[in-house]
Symmetry: C2
Amino acid sequence: MKKKFSFKKITSFKNARVGKIFTSKGIIDTPAFMPVGTIANVKAMFPENIKQTNSQIILCNTYHLMLRPGENIIKKFGGIHKFMNSKLPILTDSGGYQVWSLAKLIKIEEKGVRFRSHIDGKLFFLTPEKCIKFQQKIGSDIIMVLDECPNYNITKAKAEKSLELTLRWAKRCKKVFNKKDSALFGIVQGAKYEDLRIKCALKLQEINFDGYAIGGLSVGEGQNEMLRILDKTVPYLPDDKPKYLMGVGTPNDIIKSVARGIDMFDCVLPTRMGRTGIAYTTSGIINIRNSKFKKDQNVLDKNLNCPASNNYSKAYIHHLFKCNEILGLMILTWHNIFYYQNFMLRIRKAIKKKEFDKFYNKYLKYEAIRK
Amino acid sequence: MKKKFSFKKITSFKNARVGKIFTSKGIIDTPAFMPVGTIANVKAMFPENIKQTNSQIILCNTYHLMLRPGENIIKKFGGIHKFMNSKLPILTDSGGYQVWSLAKLIKIEEKGVRFRSHIDGKLFFLTPEKCIKFQQKIGSDIIMVLDECPNYNITKAKAEKSLELTLRWAKRCKKVFNKKDSALFGIVQGAKYEDLRIKCALKLQEINFDGYAIGGLSVGEGQNEMLRILDKTVPYLPDDKPKYLMGVGTPNDIIKSVARGIDMFDCVLPTRMGRTGIAYTTSGIINIRNSKFKKDQNVLDKNLNCPASNNYSKAYIHHLFKCNEILGLMILTWHNIFYYQNFMLRIRKAIKKKEFDKFYNKYLKYEAIRK
C-alpha cells in the first residue's frame, strides 16, 4: 500500500516550526521551498538535476498543464511524474490564480469559471470538480482546491461574496477528492480583510483539509500588508497541518513568514531572476552582467557547494551572459534554486538549535548592510 | 613532460582510415567529429556533459574569442580549458573564415587583415603571428594557421593571388609557432581549382605541419563540388598526418568524406538543428514539433543510449518545444551530438572490421529510403 500523506511537527521556536511532510514519493523537510515547474519542467533544468538543488518537491500548474499538453496526454503516460521523468513529489496549484491573471476570463458562475486560453483562445469551463479530477488524474501528490482569487483591494462586500463562493467550491473539491495517497489543501482567501481571512481559516477547517494554504498575497500589496494578514491568519490555522504561503517570495519574505509559522513556499523568483543574470549569493544579490565581474576568477559563491556554479568563475558566467549563451542561464537557474534550498536548510537548522531568533536578526542585519 | 601531439594510423579500408590522435589532454579516435563551442561553450550544454556525448575534442573559434572575452582574460585564467572548465582537448579555428564571413572587413594586406568586430565595430588587426600567439596563449591543443578564405567561384587569377598570400602566411605561422605540447595545422585553399588545391597541399608539406585541413569548402558549392575537390586534393596529403575537412557536415557528407580519407570534422549542424527542434535519429531526421509526436510515448531513439534524451518520450520533448521551454533544446543539443558521435563510432567500427563499404552502402540506401 502506498504511504499516505502526513505531516509531523518536529520542533519549533516561538511560531517558527520544523517538520516533515510524508508523501508516497518521499519526505519533504519543512520549512520547504518548492521550485516552480509550471509546464511540467523547471525552466532551463534537466528534471534529473532538480534533486541536486536539494529540492524535495516541485510545483506544477493545473491551468498551464490543462492547456498544454492537456490531461489526456499526461494521463496516457501514467501521470506527470513519468511524463517529466521526476521522482520527486509534485504539488499542483489549482490554476485559480492563473485563470484570473493570465486567461481571458469570461464569467465566474456558481458552477465554475469560464475562460479562454491565453495561448490560442480556446474556451474552457473549469469547475471545482473538474479541477480536482484533473489533478488526481495526472497524479499530483498535493492537490490544491479551486478558489477565486479576488483583487487585494476589493470592497468588503465583494470580498465577502467571493469568499462565500470560494468556501462552497472548497466543499465541492473535498467531496470529489478521493486519491488516497495524495493530499488536498484548502486555500485561505479574504483579500485585505482580517476578519474574512479568519473566517475562511475556520470554515476551511470545518471541511477538514490535509494542509492549508494562504492565497491572494504577494500580489503587489507590499510586505507589510502581507505580514499583517499572516499575523492575523496563521494563528487560526491548525498546528498539526502544513501551512503554505503561495507564490512567496524573496528570502526576506520567507524568513519573516517562517517566523510567523509558515511551512511551505513556492516562487518563480530564483529561476526567473537566474534567466536574467541575477544571482543569489551568501554575499548578496549580484547582477553577473556587471562589468566588474569581467575578470573575477572567483566562483559565484564559495560558501555554497553548488554543483552547477562551482565549476566556473564569475568571469566565465559573465562572458556567457554577455554572449547570450544559454549555458549562462542554465548555471544561474540551478545556482539560485540551490541558494534558496541552502537558505531553507539554514533556517531549519537554526530552528532546531533554538537559535532562529539569532539567525533571523543576523540575516536581516546582513541584508541591510548589503543594500 | 607533457605528451607531444602525434597521429597514428591504425588501420584502413581503401581510402578510409581509423587512427588515433594523441594530445597532452587525451586521445582522439579518428575519424572524429568535433562539436562546435564557438565562444568557449557548446551552446546549451554544460561543459562537464560534453564527455557524455562521447566527444573527445571541442572546437572553439579564435575570431569570436578574440572579440569576447579577449585573450587577456582567457590567459589570466590559465587558458581556455580552465576558463570553460573542460578537460577535453580543444582545437581553435584561426578565425580566417569568420573574418571574411562575419566581420566588417576593412582590408587584407600583406602583413595581415584589418577588420571591425561584428558586435561593436571595434577595429582589429590580425596578423598570422598574432593569430598563432593568441591560440598559444589561450592554450589551444590544435592550432590552425591564418588563411585567406576566398569565394569558391573567384577567377583563377584571383584564386592564385589569394593562395600565394595564404602560403606566405602559413610560413609565418609556422615560424612563430613554439608551443611544443600542441599541434599546428596548415589549411589547403585554392577555391574551385584542382591544380591550385594540389599546389597548396604540396607547398604546405614543404613547410611541414602536424596536420592538414581542407578549407573553403561547404560554403554553398554543393556536395558534388566538394567531393570533386576532395578526390583531387586528399591524395596529395601525407598518409601519416591527420586530415581535417573544415565545417563539414551532414552525416552524408561525413561518410563520403571518410571514404576519401578524411579524419576530422566539425560542424554546427547537430547543435544548431537541435535548437530548432530537429533531431537526428537512427530512423531518420525528425522535427519534434510535428504534431504526430504529440502522443508518442517512445524515446527519441531506442537504438541510441543517449543519457539526455533516453529519459523522455517524444511527446514530452514535443511539449517542451511547443511551450518554448529551454529544456527542449538542451535535450536535442545533447542528443544530436550523441547521435553524431555514435555515427562516427559506427564508421570506425566498420573500417576496423573491413566492412566500411557494406556500412557505406547500407547507410546511403537507408538514407535514400527515408527521404
